[in-house]
C-alpha cells in the first residue's frame, strides 16, 4: 500500500467538519425549564442542529443590519420567533450568549 500523500493526509474528515459546538452552551440554552425550545429541537432533530440554525439566522440578520459589538436581535427560525443576545467579534465572527423565545 502506497503512503498517503501529505496533502491528502491533511484533509482527514474531522478537518472538514464544522466547528464543534460547546455542549455547555447547548445545555445552557436548551435545557432551561420553561424556555420552551423543545419544539425547535424536535424540528431540527438535535440541539446542535437547532443551534447551528440559530447561528446562521443570527449571522444573516447581523450582516443585513450591519451590527457590530453587543447585540440583541430578533430572528425567525423554522417559524419560531427568537431573541438572540451576543457579541460580534472584530473579525465578524458572531458569539451567542443566550437565546429565548
Amino acid at each position: 500500500m502506497s503512503p498517503v500523500p501529505p496533502a491528502a493526509e491533511a484533509l482527514v474528515p474531522q478537518d472538514l467538519q464544522l466547528p464543534k459546538i460547546d455542549s455547555n452552551k447547548l445545555h445552557h440554552i436548551f435545557k432551561k425549564p420553561g424556555r420552551d425550545l423543545d419544539s425547535l429541537v424536535t424540528d431540527f432533530g438535535s440541539q446542535g442542529s437547532a443551534f447551528e440554525a440559530i447561528r446562521n439566522a443570527t449571522q444573516e440578520a447581523i450582516k443585513k443590519q450591519n451590527i457590530s459589538g453587543m447585540y440583541e436581535i430578533e430572528i425567525e427560525v423554522h417559524g419560531h420567533k427568537l431573541t438572540v443576545r451576543g457579541t460580534v467579534m472584530n473579525d465578524g465572527t458572531i458569539k451567542i450568549g443566550t437565546v429565548f423565545p
Binding site: H28, M70, T87, K95, T98
Partner: protein, 136 residues
C-alpha cells in the same frame, strides 16, 4: 475572588436600581427574597428566587424578562451578560451567560455596566421588557 452570591447581588442591585415603580417594587422583592436553587451550566448559571407572598407583586402580575447589565470578569475575555425573569409579577430567576467561553470556576468581578455604559434610560429599559409566557 468574587463569590457567585456576591456577583448575583451586585448584578441585581444594578439591574433593579431605578426610580420608576417597576424597579422599586422588584428591588423590594429582591431584598426580601431567598435563593432556592443555583444551576451551573458551564456556560453561565441560573439562580432561582423565592419571594414571600406578603411582598407585593408588580401590578397586573406580568411575566417578562430583561437585562441591560453586563460584566467584565477575570477569566472571560468577552465578558458576561445577564437576564432577569419576572414571573407573574415576582422576580423568578437570574441568568448569567458567557459569549461561548467556559464559565470560570474562580473569577474577580472587574466592573458592571449598562448597555450604554454608565447612563441608563429607565423608560427605554421598561420598553425593552420581553413579555414571556407565565411559568407554572
Amino acid at each position: 475572588m468574587t463569590t457567585q452570591a456576591a456577583l448575583e447581588n451586585a448584578v441585581l442591585e444594578k439591574l433593579l436600581n431605578g426610580k420608576s415603580e417597576p424597579f422599586q417594587i422588584l428591588f423590594r422583592q429582591y431584598q426580601a427574597s431567598t435563593v432556592t436553587k443555583r444551576q451551573m451550566t458551564g456556560a453561565g448559571f441560573f439562580t432561582y428566587f423565592s419571594v414571600p407572598s406578603d411582598v407585593p407583586p408588580l401590578p397586573r402580575a406580568p411575566s417578562f424578562c430583561f437585562g441591560d447589565v453586563h460584566a467584565e470578569l477575570t477569566g472571560l475575555k468577552l465578558g458576561a451578560g445577564f437576564l432577569l425573569t419576572v414571573n407573574k409579577g415576582y422576580i423568578y430567576d437570574l441568568e448569567a451567560y458567557s459569549y461561548e467561553e467556559p464559565w470560570p470556576s474562580n473569577f474577580e468581578l472587574v466592573r458592571l455596566y449598562y448597555d450604554n455604559d454608565e447612563s441608563r434610560n429607565e423608560d427605554k429599559v421598561i420598553k425593552s421588557f420581553h413579555a414571556r409566557r407565565p411559568i407554572e
